[in-house]
Symmetry: C2
């Protein structure tokens, strides 16, 4: 939906655009921290709080962070109202500045998700897979296939959704959040249990599969139709890109370590690492996959390098600063108004959300029963552990919405699905582990209310 | 110089804008690191190398990083040529994408300089001033007043420059670079000497004075004339803003520490610190001063907090990632073509550059001779130590150019002045200290060629 506008590129407006960006960032940071802390207090993952806080400051409620794609104008933006008060702007300047600052915030959010997936890549560990072995692979594949097929088919059959949005929504059901899952497991003291190992291993593979699925689906969305040759090209190129970068990664790792050791000025680790991550992200985009796939591959590669621990520490504050922009803006873009059941048109959206949640839960629960050769394993715990969708599900919603593939009810349904699966997983996981494993006395008892 | 253009805000273009931003960042990082390392190898400050590397990738040479303000179109941009090859864009889309990605890079550069001055604020230390006492204050004030008056008057009298550009260029001669000066001093093992203490103390005050001068001058540039009431308003508001934030800082410090201790989620230090820094930067802009003044004040305030050391470590990688964007783009915007003596119009520019360099050196050298009450002090070393201009001088050039106050010859003259004073200071400082103080044996001998 291109909106043609007479935009004036005026260097004098740059300080005002900067003001708008600074004020938006202040609002985003306040919302993200408040949301994260409230969620943490209620024992939910902080990322969930950031998302909900985004909904509150966004188009659904306070109208502080809004974007022109939604058909909103500058007068709908709280930030622009403040800038207007301070600077006495002409109506034309207001429109241009609103467009510009929204675009800058959008790109910052994109850089945020690129850095998030770079960090997830750094946290993922290929060697961990070998230990949990074939079990994790089976759980991951079933946990991707079942929700994807059931979700896509269900949407097309029961809701008469068009193929591409149905595939996109089905794909959004696939990826388990490694961040949320591993955090919840460690809070329960189950990270080192057999179940915990399988869940984390499967979540790692799931992440890779989910990103390949995302790349495939997002590219399909771009071409507008399901083109088998294109699907094969994408699967091959995504696999080749990931495997190729991991295989070449062995060589690059040594180069990277050598470069880092040669450099004597500030940023000797950060700059080479992000040059690589941004170049891989650019490459992912350039071969018509996704920038985040490149960033994830870059993270996997550098995870093997000698400077890995140092790099982890340096990436953290950068991620802390940029990643919340992504989560808050995803929430801010979601118009929960479409879920108001008083409006007849919205009822379909609510039904879809209910269906997606059902598929999301059942599609992952079944994975526990495909585990074989491990007697006495807690199958329920594994299934429940795979439920939270988190970051990657939101990436689907964000990209689907930005590319215009998802209509509002479907986008919001996905976000509601992500929120609910993430909400439900921590208490469910606690119940699933129940008496079968000794809880770590001190940590656990202090958390029981 | 507003350039009206029919811009199309098209969500489908966002991935391509992102590609452009990612590729620009890769070029900027490669240039900055190569430049910094080469400079370091020749024993010059790394920042100088980043600037020169910017000149090489910018409008003067490779045309990789160029900006539309210079009257260049998308076809002049190396990055856009690559994007065009990959994506088969329409001419209208090319123009829009070029504008958008240039604007994002410009805002990222602005965020870079905001973070740089936040970091300089964190590094500055109000208590240090008390130790070096009145000497540092006198050196700083003379070192600001003499180059400012001599530079402004000289430009108006000898070169018939208009009042506002002359004041701007004079102002660019004032601020000593605390980063470069203190780094050079520590390399010479002179940071703890009496001369070193006075230089660093004076450079700290100089930084504050320079930023007040910049705020005053930049605001003058906005209104277009020298309005005495406005000057007084600005001096009062800049002083009140800085002193007010420092005084209120005592209270805010405790609040900040309390907030940091309360927060339990990731980014518990980074997010509150940058929320404060960005809010202060916004406030600096909002009261019609400069964003960097707010960021510097925020740094001074948080410098006093209990979490200061931790914060320093967390800000470093963020600064390493964003600050080079500022230096490289400053270099990239500078069109050294105007200094080609074969073009008759350019000869005035070269004469101006020579004059500015002369004033820049002599105006700071004299400061050594105003020191009183310290018998046997090395006056030459103090004077030479104040010579490097570095960051703040470049900030003047960048803001002057962006706001259209400085014409190209004057802008380039300032950049040449900054480059040369920074180039000359390290060898001169070594000569000035000469035999008067024992050099630190190991470090020094390994550096002598």
């Amino acid at each position: 939906m291109p909106i043609p506008l007479l935009a004036t590129v005026d260097p004098e407006n740059l300080p005002i655009v900067l003001s708008g960006v600074l004020l938006s960032l202040v609002v985003i940071y306040l919302a993200s921290k408040l949301g994260a802390e409230v969620a943490k207090n209620f024992d939910f993952p902080p990322v969930l709080g950031e998302l909900v806080a985004g909904v509150i400051v966004g188009v659904s409620a306070l109208h502080l962070i809004v974007f022109p794609e939604a058909g909103l104008s500058a007068s709908d933006s709280g930030i622009m109202t403040v800038l207007q008060l301070i600077n006495h702007l002409s109506p034309a300047a207001v429109t241009t500045i609103f467009e510009s600052q929204s675009e800058v915030i959008s790109v910052l959010a994109e850089l945020g998700v690129i850095i998030l997936l770079f960090e997830i890549g750094l946290e993922s560990d290929l060697r961990q897979l070998k230990e949990v072995g074939i079990q994790a692979v089976v759980v991951a594949c079933v946990g991707v296939a079942v929700p994807f097929v059931a979700g896509t088919a269900g949407l097309m059959i029961f809701f008469h959704t068009a193929a591409i949005p149905a595939v996109f929504a089905g794909a959004a059901l696939t990826a388990t959040s490694i961040g949320i899952t591993s955090k919840v497991l460690s809070e329960l003291g189950q990270l080192k249990s057999k179940e915990g190992q399988i869940i984390v291993g499967a979540a790692v593979i799931d992440d890779v599969l989910g990103i390949i699925v995302l790349a495939v689906v997002a590219s399909l969305a771009k071409t507008g139709e399901i083109d088998v040759v294109n699907v094969i090209y994408l699967i091959v190129s995504a696999t080749a890109f990931l495997l190729g970068s991991i295989l070449l990664g062995g060589i690059f790792n040594k180069t990277f370590t050598a470069v880092v050791e040669t450099l004597k000025t500030r940023g000797n680790i950060v700059i080479p690492a992000f040059t690589f991550a941004f170049f891989m992200a650019f490459l992912g985009n350039a071969i018509h996959l996704e920038a985040i796939l490149g960033a994830f591959a870059a993270g996997l590669v550098l995870d093997e390098s000698d400077t890995r621990n140092e790099l982890d520490e340096l990436v953290k504050p950068i991620a802390d600063l940029l990643v919340p922009i992504f989560f808050v803006t995803v929430g801010a873009r979601a118009d929960l108004g479409v879920l108001n059941p008083a409006v007849p048109d919205n009822r379909a959206g609510l039904l879809i959300a209910g269906f997606l949640i059902l598929v999301a839960i059942i599609g992952k629960l079944v994975t526990g029963w495909v585990v074989f050769g491990v007697p006495g394993i807690n199958r329920l715990a594994i299934g429940v552990g795979m439920i939270p969708r988190g970051e990657v599900g939101l990436v689907f919603a964000g990209i689907g919405s930005a590319s215009g593939v998802l209509d509002k009810p479907l986008e919001v349904s996905i976000i509601i699905m992500v929120i609910l699966t993430t909400f439900l997983a921590p208490p469910f996981l606690r119940i699933a582990f129940g008496d079968s494993v000794e809880p770590p006395a001190i940590e656990e008892s202090s958390k029981v209310i």
